[in-house]
Amino acid sequence: MSLVSGTLYGVLLNYQGALAALGDAVHQPPYKAPPKAPVLYIKPANTWIGDGAPIPVPADIEALQMGAALGVVIGRTACRVPAGAALDYVAGYVVVNDVSVPHDSFYRPSIRLKCRDGFCPIGTRIVDRARVPDPDALAVRVFVDGALRQQNTTAHLIRSTAQLIADVTEFMTLSAGDVLLTGVPEGAPLARAGQRVAIEIEGVGRLENPLVAEGQA
């Protein structure tokens, strides 16, 4: 995948509904407080596959969670960027499926749940920044076998795209070729081997992948 030449970062709980779904648990152990700074994770190179490539479903897992995410492709070095200028550092946008084995705890989940081979399909096309005037107002839809299973909008982000870039680059530099996902909406649908998942993000594109039992891909 030449699209990502650096590191691909995801961010936990950046949709209002995703945080709200946890309710009072965010104040209880083990979390004790809601997230303060952006909570990032990495989808490593072994997880990256292209549009149409099979997502392997492990034999002992019934269904995988389909994480519809807007990928922000960084265009130049961004270190301590103010929110007002953050989008200037963006090359463009891409549709990403942040696949997970379903899990309930966000305290210290095993990377086994998010970093298996093929767990991060990435669209083939980067849509230039100039063609996406407002990345915080894009409809997000997920279809499983053609049926609409999830609908949300990037208008529901807790940190807007620009604010997220600002808050992340306060503590770490993003470079050209890095990709930052702006979050996965609540109620991510499940899909099983034999099914097809499609993610559409308004104005950015469509990403479609079959799920295949591991070893049969």
Binding site: Y31, P35, I42, A45, C79, S110, I111, R112
Partner: protein
Amino acid sequence: MRRARVAYSGAIHEATAAEDGVLRLADGRFVREDAVVWLPPFRPRTIVALGLNYADHAKELAFNAQDEPLVFLKGLNALVGHRAQTRRPDDATFMHYECELAVVIGRPARRVSRAAAYDYVAGYTVANDYAIRDYLENWYRPNLRVKNRDGCTALGPWLVERADVPDPMRLALRTTVNGKVTQEGNTRDMISDVPFLIEYLSGFMTLDAGDVILTGTPEGVVNVLPGDEVVTEIEGIGRLVNTIVGDEAFGRSVQR
């Protein structure tokens, strides 16, 4: 063989150790070690790190037994080479080094058995993987604001080829701060050893050339301050030097 990557005279070079204090560049030139800028000694891809992989350090941080290795990932922004500077934010109260054996993968590894694991290793280097505990949150621990800061993971000086390290599970580790020994351990005390980690990780993620596993640190982590020289050293692998600098050097305002 000990291999390095260095910047010298306007370009990046692969180099090998010649006589004491001298490097031989791939183009045939001989240069003094202190005349080059040291880079991480291999081209990195996925960076895998282990939390709490020494029983004594786990106890030091008050952790209980684990049912599988505590693994997290790091981005390329974190890496620096030998003799680099690492920033300590002005508001930090507890920033500590971690001396770790780094295992560099040499070729694609998928579902590798413990018995075959070393065949996939290119070599070893020393890592100093800093953490700033002030920023710890209880979400996806250790959250990247603690462990993935720019320049907070030093690697080097050398990639020591696997053939030159007969038993990586029996190496003394030592850290000194301004010449005073603050951390001592031995790789034999790892909870999950190198062959197990390769078997475990390659069981769900295909490792590839340039992937590196930072295998955790023993007890003895202490706070470091701007101006401190931190040397992390592993027997037979190398001696990695790093200097802590304050916010001023990075053009950040300092509140005092």
